[in-house]
């Protein structure tokens, strides 16, 4: 909200306080000033009179003038078309600093110039508040302008505008009067608000009413014999300063009073109303034509102002075009009402009309503001528009004027703030705020002014003390309370262990968006069925809540590949959330190759086995040894390579899928295929991790024997291992596959698998025992897999 410090100073004495100091004080009291802007800028300005003005002989637009500033006569070359002898003007003397230029003594075509005669545009005045002639020529002052005086003060442009960001609870300060009370309280200075005047009034012919609970109070007043005309300069300046254009005295008064009281007003041309009756309704259909000439299609919930059965305005947002004030208006009806803030917000958003009025109604108003605003506008209409025929005010409903009391103990103030503020200071603050504090027992009872809608519990009063005393001197302490044990829970611990292990493996963590396009909800690994979608998304791209992690991570993969970054490992660990479940998932990606040392030619393309190793490594760290894992080939997943992908099962629970991306899918996505895994971490939280248990080191010698087998290619390594493990049970320490061969030197359809068996007994194995074990192994291999020993 824009606040004119000049306007504000008409209610509260701001002498001796710079706008910067005022801004600082307001900000530290919770009324944050986000900006400070002078209406006009310029140093060393003075009011002068043009004594002589002659066209420059060899120029088509320049004039040579002499200007009397009261203390001296300056010769100034001026380029403005409207300069003339006898005018009182704004002179920027040598050394004057203007927004665009610094004035120096200069010489133009041989003519000395000592200063500049200024337009308001050159002083940085907002062009929106200037007429065309003001923009193209110098500013001509009235003949009453004092020679040698300050032109900005004379024009009322010696004003600084504060941009105050009000928090939602302090919408009362949208009313300049309330802000003045706040400033007065902060500065401990008296506040002088205009006193209500009473005038002779006759009976009212106007009927007002409301048929909707969304308009509990409606005040109307007819004022006759007004003279519509231009506003006085002070009024124009005041409105211009806060960004409102001057229209005419009557319209300007409605805006001026809205700024003062916070109450939006609407003035109707009484002669344009079909009859002297205004009824507020909702549940209407049809069209309202508003002042800005747009046609609003009504919804049933909209609040509408009607007269004689016709809609004449969109309540709280904009009046109708048919009854608006114009130059010929002679009598008016003032409307000051209370409308449902929520409904005004809904309607104004729907029809995309944000007006000064609608913004104020949305934020909530002082219930007493409407009556104050009607009184104040009556007074100004009498003074500035010479209104002479006043009718009595009529009112539908009754504003809630019952005084609200809130109490607090000084001890509560001190303990909640944690600072030793004394009771007298507390009472002083409440007094300055017009809370009329009274001590009753150990409590301070405050009567809250109607405009302070935000004060309803003791803590609200404590906040008032806090912001007035300020938190600058508050000494920080740490809470004194029973000891607690801090830390992560099992899920967070697991997540952090996976993260640090993955980083140790050289992987980069990514975080991707939760919201995805519909087509991403069918592309994932084990997508959670029935993905949730948003009622009103920002775009189709972000309409669904993802039900698998992989598609989002693949977007990041594609992005990096498109930016010529082809060798990397990524992971994301994230929760998939929906209305039914929450599931923690882990995605792993390996793309391209790993380079250990280029100059030593140590590079290794990532493959299925490197990805499998990552998964095994991570699961082992979490306490799930490879013996508990099964790798079940998957050949029908649409996004995975049909012969290089597996389903991973821990004990009996499926964790997810890993393998090579289907090359056709990768191609369709414009990327190089990567190795990828998406695993659910939920089963890991439920499954029992294998406990670490130390067994004595067996000192019996280890016997190492190599076997080279020839078997069908369809026989898997894990099958061979399983058979060996069973046959050599009791003495088998480990199996290591050290070679797998298929090719010319072996029968088609067969493979050679070479393994090392490490055997160990409780005591030294005898040759006979070793031979017996190997015999059992080879026989079992032959029987189960038709494996033969390679010669």
């Amino acid at each position: 909200m824009n606040v004119s410090t000049k306007w504000l100073s008409t209610y509260v004495d701001l002498s001796g306080i710079t706008p910067q100091q005022l801004a600082e004080r307001l900000t530290l009291a919770g009324l944050e000033v986000e900006g400070l802007e002078s209406i006009a800028h310029g140093t060393n300005l003075v009011i002068g009179e043009v004594v002589t003005c002659e066209p420059m002989p060899d120029s088509d637009h320049l004039s040579v003038t002499t200007v009397n500033t009261g203390s001296e006569v300056l010769s100034i070359v001026c380029g403005a078309p409207n300069v003339a002898a006898g005018q009182r003007v704004i002179v920027a003397q040598n050394g004057s600093v203007l927004p665009q230029i610094t004035i120096k003594k200069t010489s133009i075509k041989g003519h000395e110039s000592n200063g500049m005669i200024c337009s308001l545009l050159e002083l940085g005045v907002d062009p929106k508040s200037l007429s065309e002639s003001q923009k193209s020529g110098i500013e001509v002052l009235g003949t009453d302008a004092p020679l040698g005086g300050d032109p900005l003060a004379y024009l009322g442009l010696d004003d600084t505008i504060l941009d105050v960001k009000l928090t939602p609870n302090r919408s009362d300060c949208n009313a300049l009067w309330s802000l003045a009370l706040e400033v007065g309280a902060l500065l401990s200075r008296p506040v002088y608000l205009p006193k209500a005047q009473s005038y002779p009034e006759k009976a009212s012919s106007l009927m007002v009413g409301s048929e909707t609970p969304k308009c509990p109070v409606f005040i109307g007043k007819t004022i006759g014999k007004v003279t519509v005309g231009p506003s006085p300069l002070w009024l124009k300046r005041a409105l211009n300063a806060v960004g409102i254009k001057s229209i005419n005295n009557v319209v300007d008064i409605s805006n001026y009073v809205m700024i003062e009281t916070g109450q939006p007003l609407h003035f109707y041309d009484a002669s344009k109303l079909a009859k002297p009756e205004i009824i507020v309704k909702d549940h209407l259909k049809g069209i309202v034509k508003t002042l800005d000439e747009s046609e609003i299609h009504l919804h049933h919930e909209d609040i509408v102002i009607t007269c004689d059965g016709h809609s004449i305005g969109l309540a709280g947002i904009m009046g109708g075009d048919d009854s608006k004030i114009d130059e010929s208006t002679t009598s008016i009806v003032i409307e000051a009402a209370q409308f449902s803030p929520a409904q005004i917000r809904h309607t104004s958003r729907r029809v995309n009309l944000m007006t000064e009025a609608s913004l104020r109604f949305q934020k909530g108003l002082d219930p007493m503001a409407a009556a104050k605003a009607v009184e104040r506008s009556t007074q100004l209409l009498v003074e500035l528009a010479h209104a002479t025929e006043l009718e009595r005010t009529v009112m539908f409903g009754q504003p809630d004027s019952s005084p609200k009391t809130v109490s607090v103990t000084p001890e509560h103030v001190r303990t909640l703030l944690g600072t030793p503020v004394d009771t007298e200071t507390i009472l002083d603050i409440f007094t300055r705020l017009h809370f009329d504090p009274v001590i009753k027992g150990d409590r301070i009872v405050c009567t809250i002014p109607s405009y302070r809608l935000d004060i309803s519990v003791a803590q609200d009063l404590i906040e008032e003390v806090g912001r007035f005393v300020g938190y600058g001197d508050l000494q920080g302490t740490l809470p004194v309370m029973p000891m607690t044990v801090g830390g992560y829970d099992a899920r967070q611990t697991m997540r952090n262990r996976v993260r640090s292990l993955a980083v140790g493996y050289g992987m980069h963590e990514v975080i991707t968006y939760t919201l995805v396009h519909a087509n991403k909800t069918i592309q994932g690994v084990n997508p959670i069925p029935d993905p949730d979608s948003l009622i009103s998304p920002l775009s189709d791209e972000r309409q669904y809540i993802r039900n698998s992690l992989l598609p989002s991570v693949l977007e990041s993969v594609a992005y990096n590949q498109a930016h010529k970054q082809t060798d990397f490992q990524l992971f994301e660990i994230s929760s998939l959330s929906n209305t039914k479940t929450n599931e923690e998932r882990l995605v792993l990606i390996q793309a391209g190759k790993q380079t250990l040392s280029r100059w030593q030619h140590q590079e290794r393309a990532y493959d299925f086995y490197s990805l499998k190793g990552l998964v095994e490594g991570i699961l082992e760290e979490l306490g799930f040894s490879s013996q508990r894992l099964s790798w079940i080939p998957v050949n029908d997943h649409p996004f995975f390579h049909p012969t290089q992908s597996v389903k991973l099962v821990l004990d009996r629970t499926e964790l997810g899928i890993l393998g090579k991306q289907h090359p056709l899918i990768a191609k369709a996505m414009g990327m190089d295929p990567v190795y990828m895994a998406e695993l659910s971490l939920e089963p890991l939280l439920k499954a029992k991790a294998t406990k670490i248990k130390y067994t004595l080191i067996n000192k019996a010698p280890v016997v190492v024997r190599d076997l080279a087998l020839v078997v069908d290619r369809s026989v898997s390594a894990s099958q061979l291992e399983k058979t060996i493990a069973e046959a050599a049970k009791g003495v088998l320490l480990g199996i290591e596959i050290f070679d797998v061969y298929t090719g010319d030197r072996i029968e088609a359809g067969k493979q050679s698998v070479a393994l090392t068996l490490r055997l160990q007994g409780e005591s030294t194995l005898t040759d006979a025992e070793i031979a017996q074990t190997l015999k059992a192994v080879t026989e079992a291999l032959e029987r189960k897999h038709n494996a033969s020993l390679r010669g």
Partner: protein
């Protein structure tokens, strides 16, 4: 005999190779060598001189053999050193460095904040991202018809469910779980969602971290001390903070918390827009409505709560110019965050 000792010792110390030493050994110390030959001279001596002569020869033999052994050792050492000298490498060639990945900068910052609070006895609590309107708004003291509840600002799934707009939703669940029992000391990190168009400073998805303490006589001073420690942990020991009164539904009194600028030390720079202060947190004393809705006796206990944007802290800490970088996951961006500092 002295003559022999002198010659042999000189020859041994001059020898550089095993072959030279073997040669000396053959000449003097072998069975047929000169030293053994001296023994044969003994038989020609008178018997009374024999013992002395024999002892002298033995001493000579011992001395020379010791010197020989020493020379053998010396030459062997020299040969190893020669071999090693020939194995020289260029130590400035690139190393074979193990790949080390990176945590996402949001994780780095989040974990750093978590470390600070866990050290003070806080639990880390999370909640669902798809949340009930009730926990996100109602229990956070944001009533029906409040502007924050508009469709324009919140991603609704239906009238009951939404994507949580703040981690306050976790806090309201925590308060319910504690059911009036104190002390409550939790921090609540998580992803949150608002209906904002993505640009350099806005993101429809971002990360919040809120904290909540409820107990007896918890005060604004406790809040300030706690957040002062956080500012120092995140931005350096010399940081100070200031409170500016503000407004949040969840707290009363409420404050905005500014941290003295870590770039210019409060003198004023482009990061702090010349003010010397950077707004980082919103905080306050938990609103009595919030406490009583969750079953606490607001007359007897009080609490503080605070919240910050993890992206904002990361952007300030590392000088990141655009919030979208966090979700694009460009490797050139990710690789920069090798550690917490």
């Amino acid at each position: 005999m002295e003559h022999i000792q002198h010659d042999v010792l000189a020859a041994l110390s001059a020898a550089q190779t095993k072959a030279e030493l073997d040669d000396i050994h053959n000449r003097y110390l072998s069975k047929k060598g000169i030293v053994n030959a001296l023994m044969t001279q003994m038989k020609d001596l008178p018997p009374e001189e024999k013992p002395a002569f024999g002892a002298k020869v033995n001493a000579l033999k011992k001395t020379l053999e010791a010197a020989y052994d020493e020379a053998v050792e010396r030459v062997a050492q020299a040969e190893i050193l020669n071999k090693l000298a020939s194995e020289s490498i260029d130590v400035t060639l690139p190393s074979t460095k193990p790949d080390v990945g990176t945590l996402h900068p949001l994780t780095i910052v989040q974990q750093a904040i978590e470390r600070y609070f866990i050290g003070m006895g806080y639990l880390v609590k999370e909640g669902p991202e798809v949340e009930r309107d009730f926990y996100n708004f109602e229990r956070a003291n944001i009533p029906q018809d409040h502007p924050a509840r508009d469709m324009q600002d919140t991603f609704y799934i239906n009238t009951e469910w939404l994507l949580r707009t703040h981690t306050t939703a976790i806090q309201t669940r925590m308060l319910e779980d504690y059911a009036g029992a104190t002390p409550v000391k939790v921090i609540c990190p998580g992803k949150v969602y608002r209906k904002d168009d993505d640009d350099a400073t806005h993101s429809h998805q971002f990360t919040q971290m809120e904290g909540l303490v409820v107990g007896h006589n918890i005060s604004m001073a406790d809040l300030k001390g706690t957040l002062e420690g956080l500012a120092k942990a995140m931005f350096g020991e010399s940081r100070v903070i200031r409170f500016r009164p503000s407004y949040f539904q969840f707290t009363e009194p409420s404050v905005e918390v500014d941290v003295s600028c870590h770039i210019c030390n409060g003198k004023g720079c482009s990061t702090c827009k010349g003010t010397g202060w950077i707004e980082i947190l919103g905080a306050g004393m938990v609103h009595p409505n919030v406490l009583s809705m969750a079953g606490f006796d607001a007359e007897k206990v009080s609490g503080f709560a605070f919240g910050l944007g993890v992206e904002r802290v990361a952007m300030l800490k590392y000088g990141i110019d655009d919030i979208r970088h966090f979700y694009t996951n460009d490797l050139r961006f990710l690789s920069a965050f090798k550690r917490f500092e």
